[in-house]
């Protein structure tokens, strides 16, 4: 406890590392009530401890307590992109501590809240919708050939963008703050990124339907020697896989509940297979 009087200013590297690491672990206490509230508090705690080091001073202690309470508010964001918000909030806390008269602390939570939506939207569609699809599309095809490079490659391809976005997101948020955000939104850069991600993601998914579903039909007419699957292959290879995928898509669009769809898959599979229609 004797340490608390001797809190030193952190180096910039340590600061950025804390933004990075504490954004990655922001979901460790994800809960139904305020979701990532404690995660965000953990992220900003080193900054607050540094700003208000002396707990024996009642004023500082009061300020520290207010700051801790402030960051226990509801929060939810994609961990990687959340680093930007954490860096920005840390720099705002520092400004506020310097100039308590002219800085309204409510703006800190207002900024956090306004960033949650857009950063989650971009973050989830980039990491889960694009990076993951490409990484695992490649990974699955290698693993199916029995190569351990499949899962390794999938993780490396997932790691690099996650590391890059979290590390530089925290740094940018802290150093450039709100200035950078307007630049990012104004320049259409986000739209362009989403467009590129959309094309790449969809082409890989299209390729997956053709190479990984593998539904065929055993129907054959003995009298004429006609094998239906050969006919299908000569016109449009993997047509049955595409057809079933589109049927599933239609069922999802009609909001058939997930539980029902899973049952349809399992029991449909048993019945249709027993009838000799599809394999």
């Amino acid at each position: 406890m004797g340490e608390k009087m001797a809190v030193k200013k952190r180096s910039d590297f340590k600061k950025y590392f804390q933004f990075f690491w504490r954004s990655w672990n922001i979901q460790a206490s994800w809960n139904y009530e305020r979701q990532m509230n404690m995660g965000f508090l953990y992220g900003i705690a080193p900054t607050l401890d540094e700003l208000y080091p002396d707990e024996s001073d009642p004023v500082q202690r009061q300020h520290k307590q207010e700051a801790y309470e402030r960051h226990m508010a509801f929060y939810n964001c994609t961990p990687q992109t959340s680093a930007f918000t954490l860096g920005l909030a840390a720099s705002m806390e520092e400004q506020y501590a310097l100039d308590r008269e002219n800085f309204n602390p409510d703006t800190i939570n207002a900024v956090k809240t306004s960033l949650m939506g857009p950063l989650s939207g971009v973050g989830d569609s980039f990491f889960q919708g694009t990076v993951r699809i490409i990484a695992f599309g490649l990974g699955i095809s290698l693993a199916q050939q029995g190569s351990i490079l499949g899962p390794i490659l999938a993780i490396i391809l997932s790691f690099i963008p996650a590391w890059f976005v979290t590390w530089y997101g925290g740094k940018l948020g802290y150093t450039m703050g709100s200035k950078y955000l307007t630049k990012l939104q104004g320049g259409g850069l986000m739209d362009q990124l989403m467009y590129v991600c959309g094309i790449v993601g969809l082409m890989v998914v299209g390729a997956m339907v053709a190479s990984m579903v593998g539904i065929t039909t055993p129907i054959a007419f003995e009298s004429t020697g006609l094998v239906l699957q050969d006919v299908v292959d000569s016109i449009l290879p993997q047509a049955l896989s595409l057809l079933i995928t589109l049927v599933m898509l239609a069922l999802i669009r009609r909001k058939v509940p997930t539980g029902w769809l899973l049952l349809i898959c399992i029991f449909g599979g048993i019945v249709i297979n027993a009838l000799g229609i599809l394999v």
Binding site: W24, M203, G206
Partner: protein, 265 residues
């Protein structure tokens, strides 16, 4: 069996902590966890194959934020363990593992509710000025509870379930396993369709079709598709966003040449 169960439980801990403390590096996904199970149980080829199949089925299931049953990440670990430790096929093992994962999901609900209560403990700690205690709720207790949420069901399923699974598998008829095999292909189609339902829009549908035909007719592999897709996307976005900025500039030029007020003069 005890040692094996503990190791598999620990793979479950890696799986859940990936999204809890590593921001979701996709180490939670079946492709990775099943590979670990394969390595741990000394049957890597099965681990890779089961991982690839389960990954395809759960491709569209993304555990962002709140939990959505069934928890395929947990089911994958148990399925792969059953497939290696017993004579069960991957499909049969999956059919037996999913109910366990649904039970596991219920534990997940309890954990997330419990952590909501820990939030109140943290609130009180801050009021009392015990600041360290507030963030310890997050990094210490949060991490611990989430780890147990995966460790316990997987440990129990493997420790107590393997013999039971073996005895079930020995009486399952062939038409049933063949049917489950087709069912697992339907599940793969469902997984991909789930993904499509979030990605597909009118403007971009053509690229899905393009990816499909490039493989269907030309037989290209996924690596080739990913490379071509990036090239096409970069070229097209260059064109699209240049012309998006363009019309304004062009319209401005047009106005310089043609001044509607000239007629009035």
């Amino acid at each position: 069996m005890l040692g094996v169960s503990i190791i598999l439980g620990l793979i479950g801990v890696v799986c859940i902590l990936d999204s809890r403390i590593l921001g979701r590096l996709n180490m939670e996904r079946p492709l990775f966890t099943c590979t670990l199970v394969g390595l741990a149980l000394g049957d890597l080829p099965t681990g890779l194959l089961v991982g690839a199949s389960l990954e395809l089925m759960s491709l569209g299931i993304v555990n962002i934020g709140a939990a959505a049953p069934p928890d395929m990440n947990m089911a994958a670990i148990i399925t792969c363990a059953f497939a290696i430790l017993t004579d069960a096929t991957m499909e049969t093992a999956l059919a037996l593992a999913v109910p366990i994962a649904v039970l596991g999901q219920m534990i997940g609900v309890v954990v997330r509710t419990l952590l909501a209560n820990l939030t109140h403990v943290a609130d009180r700690a801050i009021e009392q000025g015990r600041f360290d205690r507030a963030w310890q709720m997050h990094i210490v207790w949060g991490t611990l509870f989430y780890s147990l949420m995966y460790f316990i069901p997987i440990f129990l399923a493997v420790y107590m379930g393997t013999d039971m699974v073996q005895s079930i598998v020995s009486v399952v008829p062939a038409w049933f396993t063949d049917g489950l095999n087709l069912g697992s292909k339907f599940l793969t189609a469902y997984g991909i369709a789930l993904l499509l339902s979030t990605m597909l829009n009118k403007e971009l549908t053509v690229f899905f079709v393009l990816g499909f035909f490039l493989v269907g007719y030309l037989g290209l592999n996924i690596t080739a598709i990913a490379i071509f897709a990036v090239i096409i996307a970069v070229v097209l976005s260059g064109l699209k966003f240049r012309t998006a900025a363009g019309p304004g500039a062009l319209a401005g030029d047009g106005l310089d040449d043609y001044d509607p007020l000239e007629d009035d003069l």
